[in-house]
Symmetry: C3
Subunit: 163 residues, 3 copies
């Protein structure tokens, strides 16, 4: 039963991380800068391709309050994250997947930014937080997949022996 408890916990962790990732877009599109920043740890980082790295919650909240993001909100936008590969090891986890930011423009929705993303997460007192998110628009990322991206993939694939 002890082993079952650990397996149950891992599934709950993956479930909590899935909810965290899904809530990012809802918070970003609501302009909820404080709540969004609380998805990160106190010293968490958000490295946004083309916009530098925000360090700490105040800096992350400032991204949402920035003119670029406020213009998106004014136009009408949707930050949609894809299903991610999620790997949990004890109180740490990694995730990798895509995001599409839609922007309303002249009567139609246009794909403003399509990116790949890697996330490092930590569990602190039963809550999962983002320690670091790296976001790279596809147009910037040819040949530049980062180490975490590749590591998350190999965690998923290394364990696969020919069947």
């Amino acid at each position: 039963v002890v082993n079952q408890a650990a397996r149950l916990r891992r599934l709950e962790d993956a479930d909590a991380i899935r909810n965290l990732l899904a809530s990012y877009g809802l918070l970003a599109d609501s302009g909820a800068s404080t709540e969004l920043a609380l998805l990160w740890t106190e010293y968490g980082e958000y490295d946004v391709g083309g916009y530098g790295t925000a360090k700490g919650r105040d800096a992350i909240a400032a991204l949402i309050e920035s003119e670029t993001h406020q213009q998106l909100l004014q136009a009408g936008c949707a930050h949609i994250l894809s299903p991610h590969v999620i790997e949990v090891v004890d109180e740490r986890a990694t995730a990798a997947g895509y995001s599409v930011v839609w922007r309303y423009n002249e009567g139609a929705m246009e794909p403003w930014r399509v990116s790949w993303n890697t996330w490092e997460l930590v569990r602190q007192r039963s809550q999962w937080f983002v320690q670091r998110r790296i976001n790279r628009p596809i147009s910037m990322s040819i040949g530049h997949k980062n180490d975490l991206f590749m590591a998350t993939l190999s965690q998923s694939t290394d364990r696969r022996s020919p069947g």
Copy 2:
């Protein structure tokens, strides 16, 4: 072990709701109006931004049989739902996320409608059903996020104390 049983049940509930949400698009794009309506409770509601509120399964099936939807099916369409934030509390649940309806047009796929959605779900005799879905295209939703949308977010975020 009793506690583990409850935690297991909650994970199974989240899993069942994820399948329900993913099946919506497949049923809509198959024109399976009766099966789609059975995702809702007998008195379930589907409030579709710009098209009013369908109440009860016959009215919901009629949406799929409507000229608007049949024209989408004729053209070729894909109703793709994003990963949702899912919160289960006993036999009730809420979900919030995005949907993109793609439409084939002159040799290319175009994003016909991008929306945010909130769902209220209930478990009846071991099955999850939709009690109410609210759908709002992004272009209609500036500054009009609904209460459930915000409530689902705060369920996800209120529990987060600074880490």
Copy 3:
């Protein structure tokens, strides 16, 4: 507790399949042909609408090494899979959902291909592998939903009695 172990296993299976599906796009966009082919069983099949059926891992790896795919990688691309309906029965599973392939073109991302997909999966020595994936672009699929697509849907819906 025995029953709980089986339920836990089924949830872990669904979780592993979700990771497998999410990793497909990351591997495809990294050009990782060998690792991608290892998602399939030794005699697995990948029936790609408009491109025939690749049988076995060498043939599946060759799809990623093909000129069509290499041109996508050169341009910049993102293979994004939607949340899927996943049904696990012992050591077999089915999944059904959508995929969107984005391609960078003249300063913007364009939806190059939007498809529905069905997957048959098997568990071999604790790992899940794809036995068969069928992919059909929406423009080819009007009135041609396949049997597995409909079967996966009815597994999700047949069990639903009027609530």
